[in-house]
């Protein structure tokens, strides 16, 4: 919480407003008889978690991955596959027939994301900049096509399943499930902040700002970057598991390039380098989708215009506009 306060006063106020909106909004909406807004808030919280995960690599490490949909989708499929096997009783691995526990699904999602992230990261991180972007995008596309053509888990139909269960909460109902997702987001934000403040985070941020200097000090950037990439993938994978549970559906579209682009967009929309930037971006995105989408079928056109405006004119994103000035180091 410290950094929420040590940021500029205006950013701190914006941060508190964002958290208050996320925490109180759904509860108020439900009291007012609009359960639909709980689902919207849940979606925003999950996207915020995913974007915060990508922010670890992109914001701290400067690794512009255009392939994080791979980990989001793998997380979703991990959840779907566990639930499907638990439903059918068919053994998944070593005679174990999956599980409907959301916590286990999240663990499986993170494990699968890690397994994918290590080789993808090890190869992609041999390069940097635009190359890195293109390679991560290509690997994500590979996984996307593989999911489409592999029939065992639904192929291009995706994988429908019953939402998982959670100890002590009725996760089938909107509000308890929202609390689960909000809790995951808060944990994700805490991890981001702890990592950023640690020696690892210091060295990682330094590799983004000046890799040459970091090497001259005796630190190999590769290990830092690969670690950041893997941690980032795991958090995005966890978000994917929750997203699939929200929709009761693991969809190939979770693996698509659009998803990767959206995650980057959320970070930049909200404000890169700021703890709650990705969260602000996710809230804005879900709100725009809802408001613009209610107004016109062509809402993505206007979303595009808004994002273009941010790219060209508002370089600090939404929080940058509010807080003014540069983000702190």
């Amino acid at each position: 919480m410290k950094s929420l306060i040590s940021a500029s006063p205006r950013e701190a106020a914006a941060n508190l407003a964002i958290l208050a909106l996320l925490i109180l909004g759904p509860w108020a909406a439900l009291s007012a008889g609009h359960p639909f807004y709980v689902t919207l808030a849940t979606k925003a919280a999950i996207l915020a978690l995913a974007a915060t995960g990508l922010h670890l690599a992109l914001g701290l490490g400067g690794l512009v991955s255009f392939g994080h949909a791979a980990f989001f989708g793998l997380g979703g499929y991990a959840a779907g596959i566990l639930a499907t096997h638990a439903g059918s009783g068919e053994a998944l691995i070593f005679g174990w027939a999956g599980s409907r526990e959301i916590l286990l699904m999240i663990c499986a999602a993170m494990g699968l994301a890690l397994l994918a992230a290590l080789p993808i990261g090890a190869i992609s991180l041999r390069t940097s900049g635009v190359y890195f972007l293109m390679i991560t995008l290509a690997f994500a596309q590979m996984i996307y096509y593989f999911a489409l053509s592999w029939p065992a888990y639904g192929g291009d139909d995706g994988l429908s399943f019953r939402r998982g269960i959670f100890p002590g909460l009725n996760s089938a109902r909107p509000l308890p499930f929202f609390w689960i997702c909000l809790g995951a987001l808060l944990i994700g934000l805490a991890i981001f902040q702890i990592l950023r403040a640690s020696r690892f985070g210091t060295a990682l941020e330094a590799t983004r700002q000046n890799p040459q200097r970091v090497e001259a000090l005796g630190i190999e950037p590769f290990g830092l970057r690969l670690t950041a990439f893997a941690l980032s993938a795991m958090m995005v994978g966890a978000a994917g598991a929750l997203f699939a549970n929200l929709n009761r559906f693991a969809s190939p579209s979770m693996l698509s390039w659009q998803m990767s682009g959206e995650l980057i967009m959320l970070i930049l929309l909200g404000g890169r380098g700021r703890l709650l930037g990705p969260t602000a971006g996710a809230l804005l995105f879900v709100a725009m989708e809802h408001v613009l989408g209610g107004w016109t079928e062509r809402w993505q056109f206007f979303l595009g215009l808004a994002v273009l405006g941010v790219a060209v004119f508002a370089r600090g994103g939404f929080l940058g506009l509010i807080a003014g000035g540069r983000r702190d180091g």
Binding site: S198, R199, T202, A206, R213, A216, L217, G218, R327, G329
Partner: protein
Amino acid sequence: MADPALDIRDLRKSFGALRATDGVTLDLRPGEIHALIGPNGAGKSTLIAQIAGGLRPDSGSVRLFGRDVTALGAPARARLGLARSFQISSLAGEFSALRNVMLAIQARAGSSFRFLRPTQGDRRLTEPAMAALARVGLADRAAVPAALLSHGERRRLELALALAMEPKLFLLDEPMAGLGAEGSRELTGFLSELRREAPILLVEHDMDAVFALADRISVLEAGRVIASGSPAEIRADAGARRAYLGDSS
């Protein structure tokens, strides 16, 4: 006699038809300041990059403290005790001066894979970092982001980073650049003290500083060492005079 701190043998590096380093041999002995001078384009930057490990030579060898490091990258050479400063200040611009130096401290400790404890307020980092800042006179600027420091302050922060590594060899790339007469004099005094901690390979355009500090001077021209010797010998060498008198600094 102990191994030289740095021992370069017949180093060669070409970019296409350009021989940037054309058979350079030189060494740096314990306790000395060896200055490397030469006009712009003589190949100093290429040579430094090969010594620091950013660039692989086509042939030849680089030895640090008796160990062949030709195949090692920059981080490994830094860990062996080579600290370099950059000609154009090269810092983490978003970080405060203090955090830049703290990074050097944690690099020396090899502890960049600690994930939990915040660095802020970690006295094992802040105390030695503040000490290094104090030595270069930046203690009162510790909280200022590196990007907002003045040119002279950034030059000094470069030096503080090198000090914080507690190296066994300094490789200083034009530390006087842009400092002005006053700053150069101050730094000259500082470097003459610094040589007691570790030998210095000094690349510098400021001839007053070079002749005041150096035990030995090597003159680089067109990728070759055309003269090497004591300051008095270099002063007397016709080729050396031509090489650096052609350069306005």
